[in-house]
């Protein structure tokens, strides 16, 4: 059972544009939602994370929007740069230190 569904699978954005990646989850017990960035040949790196008690969290050019009633959350990358080209994974867990359930990933390409 895929508990975290991520879309789109791939995304092409022009430099300076906004990249938007969406995730939906099924398990209402999830209470920690991180986003990871992964470059080829590297492990995932934590970008930003949110708890369900807030609807939005912003760190630099990265923003998470969270909709608890819809069981959806999204990552917005403002002023996208070619260096942002990577695969992005959303994830969720119950009790933050617990195991992470990952989405299928979104391959982002930012064109110069």
């Amino acid at each position: 059972q895929q508990q975290v569904k991520q879309s789109p699978q791939s995304l092409i954005v022009q430099k300076g544009g906004i990249s938007i990646i969406n995730c939906a989850y099924e398990n209402t017990a999830f209470d920690y939602f991180p986003w990871y960035q992964q470059f080829p040949g590297k492990g995932p790196a934590l970008l930003i994370a949110i708890r369900p008690d807030v609807s939005e969290k912003k760190e630099g050019r990265f923003t998470i929007s969270f909709n608890k009633s819809a069981k959806q959350f999204s990552l917005h990358i403002m002023d996208s740069q070619p260096g942002d080209s990577a695969t992005y994974f959303c994830a969720a867990s119950r009790d933050a230190g617990n195991m992470l359930t990952f989405g299928g990933g979104t391959r982002l390409m930012v064109k110069p």
């Binding site: 590297k42 995932p44 299928g104």
Partner: protein, 116 residues
């Protein structure tokens, strides 16, 4: 500071052989996690340790997979009688704790296992 390290970075083995994959967590991190990432997919949880004990091993696919963390630091993932379907990148992550503000998981670069 030093991040999570994993050795070897690549491992090629023949079907039926035994392999061991090693993970060195960030110094002082009490929790350690193993995930498996198949090509083009998100990581899938295998097992996690809090200290020396396995707190949750529900993700291990079958009894050919086993992991240990005898001294609460380095962990070894062991796979017996390897099958071609075991080919994947095996990722290790660690976190300072499993509660409070320091639960973020930091990943190593992974070990790419290829079973021929």
């Amino acid at each position: 500071g030093a991040g999570v390290s994993q050795t070897p970075s690549n491992k090629v083995t023949e079907k039926g052989k035994y392999v061991e994959l090693r993970c060195d967590p960030i110094s002082g991190h009490t929790a350690l996690y193993w995930y498996r990432q198949s090509l083009g997919q998100g990581p899938e949880f295998l097992i996690y340790f809090q200290g020396t004990g396995a707190a949750d091993d529900s993700g291990l696919p079958n009894d050919r997979f086993f992991a240990v963390r005898p001294e609460g630091s380095v962990s070894t993932l062991k796979i017996q009688r390897t099958e071609r379907g075991d080919s994947a990148v095996y990722l290790c992550a660690s976190s300072l704790s499993v509660a409070g503000p320091a639960y973020e998981q930091y990943f190593g670069p992974g070990t790419r296992l290829t079973v021929t």
